[in-house]
């Protein structure tokens, strides 16, 4: 019995870590510009797909991964420069539609440049499952978890310990005030997109060995990442981790103990209940909606 519970827990951690990593990307851009970037899932897709094709072209894995992240960073920069910046001080909903348009556009390009098939990436340290008290977990899942935690710590240091990080938070909090104290808000926003794209690409490379990758995985992964970010409290790094893990575990236990057909519905019901009781998510991060 216990080994079954443990297996469900491990499964929850596996998917939860993936959600957490994607949620971090949402949180990063939100913290720097109050924008929800619906193309975040596509950054994850680009990371995975680019690596697959670079590997196929003969590059060794570390180089392929590096170039993939660089490529995705460029895409993030282009997105900000060409689509977000020209929109100026557009309304929240207009920006949502722009990022949705961007995600469709990126999917269309991926379909042309690469292909429509599913691809796999080799895991970092092999496929042999680790056995713990009768349950198994893949080494790749632990990598995802470790990297996510590391990234949260790194981002926390960045935002609270460096001038640039603090400038980013300031720009998001109050754009005009930040400009008044000399912060180049345009450059800060650009940087946040670049960083988030790099993060998304890294996530894509990390999770592709578990989830497989294709030109259209961005949508679902983006959706779950967004849900995890909101559940944990948008704008909070630890919130992204907590939201991701909770979402993953609820799904897994829902599948195991209630009904596997309804596990996603169960997860969303839980999210709704949490939001009704705690309207700003589990860790309540981020500023209140300005009136």
């Amino acid at each position: 019995m216990f080994d079954q519970v443990l297996q469900f827990l491990f499964s929850g951690i596996t998917v939860g870590a993936i959600y957490a990593l994607v949620a971090l990307g949402f949180t990063l851009i939100y913290n720097s510009s109050r924008i929800i970037n619906f193309a975040q899932g596509e950054f994850v897709m680009i990371g995975g797909m680019a690596t697959v094709f670079l590997l196929g072209a003969g590059l060794p894995m570390p180089l392929a991964a590096l170039f993939a992240v660089a490529l995705c960073t460029l895409v993030g920069l282009a997105l900000e420069k060409l689509a977000i910046e020209p929109a100026g001080r557009a309304s929240v909903v207009a920006l949502i539609i722009i990022t949705i348009g961007a995600s469709i556009f990126l999917r269309g390009v991926a379909q042309l440049v690469w292909d429509k098939k599913l691809h796999a990436l080799p895991p970092f340290t092999g496929d042999a499952p680790i056995h713990v008290a009768g349950a198994t977990i893949l080494p790749q899942s632990l990598w995802v978890l470790i990297v996510t935690v590391f990234l949260v710590l790194a981002l926390r240091w960045f935002f609270t310990g460096t001038l640039l990080g603090k400038a980013m938070l300031a720009a998001a909090d109050n754009r005009d005030a930040a400009q008044l104290v000399g912060i180049n808000v345009r450059r800060v926003q650009l940087l946040s997109f670049a960083l988030s794209a790099a993060l998304g690409a890294a996530a894509g490379i990390l999770v592709a060995p578990i989830t497989l990758t294709a030109y259209d995985i961005g949508t679902m992964i983006g959706l779950k990442g967004f849900a995890a970010a909101i559940l944990g409290g948008i704008g909070s790094g630890p919130g992204a981790i907590v939201g991701g893990l909770v979402l993953g575990v609820v799904e897994s236990f829902g599948a195991g103990y209630v009904s596997s057909a309804y596990k996603d519905a169960i997860a969303f019901v839980v999210i709704l209940l949490v939001l009704f009781l705690l309207p700003r998510g589990l860790l309540g991060g981020g500023s209140a909606e300005r009136v």
Binding site: F105, I234, D264, V291
Partner: protein, 312 residues
């Protein structure tokens, strides 16, 4: 508030709708027009919530789908008359919206988006899973719409049915927005706290907009089910919800005609882009981005502003 402008707009709509069939060479074109009309009905309703009241709903396809499946199941499995099924579906959808609307609308911004998103997804999962009743992912066939023995069949007949419903919906929406309720909704959009200070019961009006838009979506869903003769969970899902919100924002928020134009353009556009084959997604995405960047208030308000500037 220009009552005259609204009447002119309505008259123009009636004129366009009456004259359009002359330009529709065959049933395929009628089909696209009908689908655009059905989408327009949903969008005009959704615009009340998103455009005027300033809320966001990423789950409206759920209401659309519930209306469609209610009609499909009640008429198909239980032999109900289609009109009664449509009415029942509308009532059920309205009741559901009233019940979950209260807690959901207390949320704001991205949290509200997430809650409505979750709602829509839950509905689509239930519909796709309960295959014994709903036919599952492969969907259900739907009987034709019949009223007192007369069958509503054929693209030409459906065109007039949808057009009539659309005109009535637009008239209702314009009327609503011109009334004190409309002013209350707009004040909530401007600033919810200020509105409350002025004595507007924000929660009640938001709920009203939510329920009205849900019922309109449900009715449109029932019509779509009977027209297509077929319904699948695809129409209940997340993608359709995003499509609907995109149509409203693309066409122009806080503009009933904007929502209508948005629905018409974004329904017809994929048909026009088929010749692009592999490039269709790319071009569609680029068009969406381009329009929102250069016309951030949406197509109709931006074009209207240009027109006014041109005349000045």
């Amino acid at each position: 508030m220009c009552a005259r402008r609204d009447l002119l707009g309505l008259a123009a709509l009636v004129a366009v709708v009456a004259v359009l069939p002359l330009f529709l060479p065959n049933r395929y074109f009628y089909d696209v027009a009908i689908l655009a009309g059905i989408n327009a009905i949903v969008c005009v309703g959704l615009n009340l919530l998103v455009g005027y009241a300033g809320q966001i709903s990423l789950g409206h396809a759920g209401f659309f789908g519930l209306g469609a499946y209610a009609s499909a199941i009640l008429t198909g499995r239980y032999g109900w008359p289609p009109l009664a099924a449509l009415g029942t579906g509308a009532v059920l959808v309205g009741a559901l919206a009233a019940v979950i609307g209260r807690p959901v609308l207390r949320l704001k911004g991205h949290y509200l988006a997430m809650a409505t998103l979750g709602m829509g997804i839950i509905v689509s999962i239930v519909i796709a899973t309960e295959d014994r009743v709903t036919g599952g992912p492969d969907g259900l066939a739907v009987v034709p719409f019949q009223v007192f023995g007369w069958s509503l069949k054929g693209e030409e007949t459906w065109y007039w049915a949808v057009a009539a419903t659309l005109v009535v919906t637009v008239a209702l929406a314009l009327n609503l927005m011109a009334s004190p309720i409309g002013r209350a909704l707009r004040s909530i959009h401007g600033s919810e706290i200020a509105a409350e200070v002025m004595g507007v019961d924000a929660a009640r009006y938001k709920l009203l907009a939510f329920v009205v838009s849900a019922v309109l979506a449900g009715v449109a869903g029932s019509m779509a089910a009977h027209y297509s003769g077929f319904i699948t969970p695809g129409k209940v899902g997340f993608f359709h919800s995003i499509e609907l919100v995109t149509m409203v924002i693309f066409g122009g928020m806080a503009s009933t005609f904007g929502a209508l134009v948005g629905a018409a353009v974004l329904t017809a556009l994929p048909q026009a882009l088929t010749s692009l084959r592999e490039y269709e997604l790319l071009v569609f995405g680029a068009l969406l981005m381009g329009t929102m960047i250069f016309m951030p208030r949406g197509l109709v308000p931006s074009l209207a502003a240009l027109w006014r500037r041109g005349r000045a």
